[in-house]
């Protein structure tokens, strides 16, 4: 038992000696959370728009006033004619132009029908859809204001409730995503590189000649990264609660338990990579291209899985991060218990066991 402590101590020394990597490991989650939290949001605020008002009447002024008052829009310019709209878009200054035809109010009052034109820059389709949606909403608002003056015989009111995330915070989506990515990065990349490094420098041979159990070599190497991952996890959770204001609704204990399971999955993946490669560079390349990129693509926090073609959805099933992401969302955001996530947990557990068995088999072959 003393032996393994000696070994684990040595592993921690390696980790602490490499200051740059250590800084990166702890800096990364902080930077990612802050980036995703404050810079890389897909919420739209202060989109610049241009207004071309041929009507200049009560109704159009009212709607323009509402647009200006909203947080989503910032009126950049008032244009005099249609021709100027094209120029404004080409300059890339505006995301949307809104055109009120002449006699807007008149049409509305006497024909009970009027038209507003929304022109959006769809070179970025998501933003264009979102912006036109907001603008539509504002026009509808005005229409509802008018309708209150006169009763319609039939009326359907939709009452929308956004459950789990009433404020539509993006953090709810990306915090679990960042968690799975960081844990993958630390466990897969760092572990595989650490083990391959021993092979590359020849120290692995010395260790294999020693009476020290080769399986304990692997266990000892994994321990510091398990510890680092748990610290990282704590940092991410603290940041998300206290900086992003995203509470943990479910059991913290359960969250840590499933995270530990995912960490072990990732560590076994790292081990698998280190078993199949001979140099640190290839270990790094395989970890990044073979693990991290598919995880970003198929976890579902950047690109919705439901929109993918069926074969790709099948591919996503073998990505451990996908299941962890679902679990974290359920526990952290929806506040659900183990009864709701047992299926995903079982899948992760099975993956881990399979990976470990495969590793042990492979490791034995390598020794002979």
């Amino acid at each position: 038992m003393d032996n393994i402590l000696t070994f684990i101590k040595k592993e921690f020394l390696h980790v602490f000696r490499d200051r740059k990597t250590l800084l990166m490991l702890f800096g990364l989650p902080i930077v990612q959370i802050i980036l995703f939290g404050f810079a890389l949001t897909n919420e739209i605020t202060n989109a610049k728009i241009a207004v071309c008002d041929y009507a200049k009447d009560d109704a159009s002024q009212h709607i323009i006033g509402k647009l200006q008052a909203s947080q989503q829009f910032e009126i950049q310019s008032a244009l005099l004619s249609h021709e100027q709209i094209g120029t404004a878009f080409k300059g890339g200054e505006i995301k949307m132009a809104i055109v009120f035809p002449a006699n807007f109010n008149n049409d509305l009052l006497h024909q009970h029908k009027a038209q507003v034109q929304l022109i959006t820059d769809a070179s970025d389709p998501n933003t264009a859809t979102a912006i036109s949606g907001y603008a539509n909403q504002i026009v509808m608002d005005y229409q509802n204001d008018l309708m209150q003056l006169q009763r319609l015989p039939y009326q359907i009111n939709t009452e929308v409730r956004m459950i789990y995330n009433p404020e539509l915070k993006a953090a709810v989506n990306f915090v679990p995503g960042v968690m799975s990515l960081i844990l993958l990065l630390v466990c897969v990349l760092m572990t595989s590189v650490a083990i391959v490094k021993e092979k590359e420098t020849g120290t692995m041979e010395i260790l294999l000649v020693s009476p020290f159990n080769p399986f304990l070599v692997i266990v000892s190497k994994a321990v510091p990264y398990l510890a680092l991952s748990l610290i990282n996890l704590t940092i991410i959770l603290l940041l998300s609660v206290f900086v992003l204001g995203m509470p943990i609704n479910g059991s913290i204990l359960l969250l840590y338990a499933v995270s530990t399971l995912f960490i072990i999955t990732a560590l076994s993946l790292g081990l698998l990579i280190s078993n199949s490669t001979a140099s640190q560079q290839s270990a790094m390349l395989i970890s990044l291209m073979g693990m991290l990129v598919p995880s970003i693509l198929f976890t579902g926090f950047m690109f919705p899985l439901e929109n993918m073609p069926y074969p790709l959805q099948l591919v996503s099933h073998i990505i451990p991060a996908k299941w962890y992401y679902i679990i974290v969302k359920s526990v952290m955001v929806k506040g659900l218990g183990l009864s709701a996530i047992w299926k995903e947990t079982l899948i992760l557990l099975t993956m881990t066991v399979l990976l470990l068995v495969f590793n042990i088999k492979k490791f034995k072959i390598r020794l002979t």
Binding site: D2, N3, T6, F7, K10, L13, H14, R17, D18, T201, G202, T203, E205, I206, L207, L208, V209, S210, P211, F212, L367, T368
Partner: protein
């Protein structure tokens, strides 16, 4: 004389390639046994089998009295190993390296303390104990590496081309350490490319194409091949080799 290594027809095949072919030899306690051969002759393969890094295809061997198939754990406790590659941790200090390798061989804290002090004194590295090993000159690294390999007082120490790339003075000093170890009863099993080093060995075996072609003391080998130096003996034997890198 005590036999510490005893092999009978030890063979290693990789597919149809026979890396080591029916090697039979004995090594006695306290002797310095030179294991020579050209590149690709099968030295490293044979050595890896003796250390338990590689499983023999056939044949038997006993290391320090333990069976190479069944008692690998016992063998590991009784041997030391120093590979071609420099193999201490460059990002650990001299003292940390000594403590670590002593620790995984199960030395107690007290033993470790005594041993490391003794070792540092012998090597004259008192001022370097807190230095990272990576910052030491190669010669010192090799000497340290050897001292670490025999820290747990093994019965046999295997040295795989230990002096590669080291200057002649350091090589001489390195051999002083080897003699000292042999005087203390540690059997030294060493592979080398330097024929002057071969002269320092008590006995030498020459491997050609996976087989041991000659085995005797340097003096007798020279006599046998009517050569004036080990260089000539080596050329004489290696000339017939079919395999080379």
């Amino acid at each position: 004389m005590d036999t510490v290594i005893h092999t009978t027809k030890l063979t290693k095949r990789f597919g149809s390639f026979i890396a080591a072919n029916e090697i039979t030899f004995d090594v006695y306690r306290g002797e310095i046994f030179g294991f020579l051969g050209a590149n690709g002759a099968g030295k490293t393969t044979a050595m890896r089998m003796l250390c338990g890094l590689s499983k023999p295809s056939s044949g038997t061997a006993a290391i320090a009295g333990f069976d190479i198939y069944k008692q690998t754990e016992e063998i590991k406790k009784n041997i030391g190993y120093m590979s071609q590659k420099f193999s201490l941790y460059e990002d650990l200090t001299v003292l940390e390296n000594i403590r670590f390798f002593g620790g995984i061989y199960g030395l107690s804290d007290k033993q470790l303390k005594e041993k490391s002090e003794q070792l540092i004194a012998t090597l004259g590295m008192k001022n370097e104990t807190k230095k990272m090993v990576g910052a030491l000159p190669l010669g010192w690294k090799q000497k340290l590496s050897f001292s670490v390999a025999i820290l747990h007082e093994p019965k046999i120490v295997f040295l795989d081309e230990p002096t590669g790339g080291v200057d002649p003075v350091t090589r001489r000093q390195f051999w002083d350490l080897i003699y000292e170890a042999a005087d203390n009863g540690i059997t030294v099993f060493v592979t080398t490319h330097y024929m002057d080093e071969a002269e320092y060995c008590n006995r030498i075996s020459m491997m050609v194409d996976g087989e041991i072609k000659a085995l005797n003391t340097p003096a007798k080998l020279k006599q046998q091949y009517s050569a004036t130096s080990m260089d000539e003996v080596f050329y004489e034997l290696a000339r017939g080799a079919k395999r080379s890198e």
